[in-house]
């Protein structure tokens, strides 16, 4: 059995800690790094990271990508989305296909 983790600022993690998620409260960059390192070792299956913290620890998460678990997922924090989740999706598409087709599709649905 695996745990679910959440790395975020104190306001964001509060609501989730009531759900039984293991939460890591992060104040600064060092805290974020320590949280990710703890999450890597703690037997987690999924670790949610808020968008504002993710860029600071991206290199750690990238380095750990070879492992099957945990899976890191970006979610917006309580100050609203920065669009990082969408950007990551777009990067994956670019990597797989070579061009960005997400934009095109959106254009089609709008027009």
């Amino acid at each position: 059995m695996h745990k679910i983790g959440l790395i975020g600022d104190s306001d964001t993690i509060r609501g989730f800690s009531a759900l039984g998620l293991a939460t890591f409260e992060v104040m600064d960059r060092d805290g974020a790094v320590a949280a990710v390192q703890a999450a890597l070792k703690g037997g987690f299956a999924v670790v949610f990271v808020t968008e504002r913290i993710y860029p600071q620890v991206e290199y750690l998460i990238r380095a750990a990508r070879e492992n099957a678990l945990p899976v890191f997922t970006v979610i917006p924090d309580n100050q609203g989305s920065t669009g990082l989740g969408q950007t990551r999706l777009r990067k994956m598409v670019e990597r797989a296909i070579g061009v960005d087709i997400l934009f095109k599709e959106e254009g089609k649905t709008n027009g």
Binding site: G15, V46, L69, V71, T73
Partner: protein, 206 residues
């Protein structure tokens, strides 16, 4: 561009065989790439849809939580949520598709989200926690399929590189070499024939 080998019949046969294998591999890899692309596209649609829902719902959740925090004193809020009654665990299984192994998560929930009494807490907190609790399975699903999408993207990139390497490097190189060997061999043959004719003339002239 060709490989440096001895222009012998043995080498020629060996290389011809390699060309056949390479072409077959190229076709297979190309099929694999197309199939990967197909699953990638359908998965991409799901991920996009889920991400949008998650981001919208999360905003709602945060909003109601903010209201709950505004109407309750910080101490009371902390008291209400500091000891969660609910336990969540994930069961992880693996799903293989097209040589990509992606994790599949199954959420196990135990207990109740509302780990506090009616007195001293506000209805807004109930609402906020309700939104978060409802959203959790979707979040977990998103985590799973986003990971699968990422792995698929990597696999597509790898496969595409291999297809291109075969198509533009290995196969032309092998074919060039086959051609140059067969040209060298026929040149040798022509040389041998003309030598024989010359010898015959010399012998006859005596």
């Amino acid at each position: 561009m060709n490989i440096r080998v001895n222009p012998t019949r043995m080498e020629l046969l060996r290389l011809k065989k390699r060309v056949r294998v390479a072409k077959r591999g190229h076709k297979l890899l190309k099929d694999k790439r197309d199939e990967l692309m197909k699953s990638f596209m359908s998965l991409l649609r799901d991920v996009k849809r889920l991400r949008l829902t998650v981001e919208q719902e999360l905003r709602l959740g945060y909003q109601s939580f903010l209201i709950a925090r505004a109407v309750m004193t910080p101490e009371m809020l902390d008291e209400a949520i500091i000891f969660p009654k609910q336990r969540v665990e994930l069961e992880v299984t693996e799903k293989r598709m097209m040589s990509v192994t992606a994790p599949v998560f199954c959420l196990r929930q135990e207990g109740d989200v509302y780990a506090y009494g009616m007195a001293g807490t506000s209805g807004e907190l109930d609402m906020a926690l309700g939104v978060f609790a409802q959203l959790l399975p979707t979040l977990i699903e998103l985590a799973g399929i986003e990971r699968a999408l990422e792995l698929l993207a990597e696999e597509i990139e790898r496969t595409r590189r291999r297809v291109n390497a075969l198509e533009y490097v290995l196969i032309p190189m092998l074919e060039d070499t086959v051609k140059s060997i067969s040209m060298k061999l026929s040149e040798q043959e022509r040389g041998a024939i003309s030598r024989l004719m010359k010898i015959k003339d010399v012998v006859r002239a005596k």
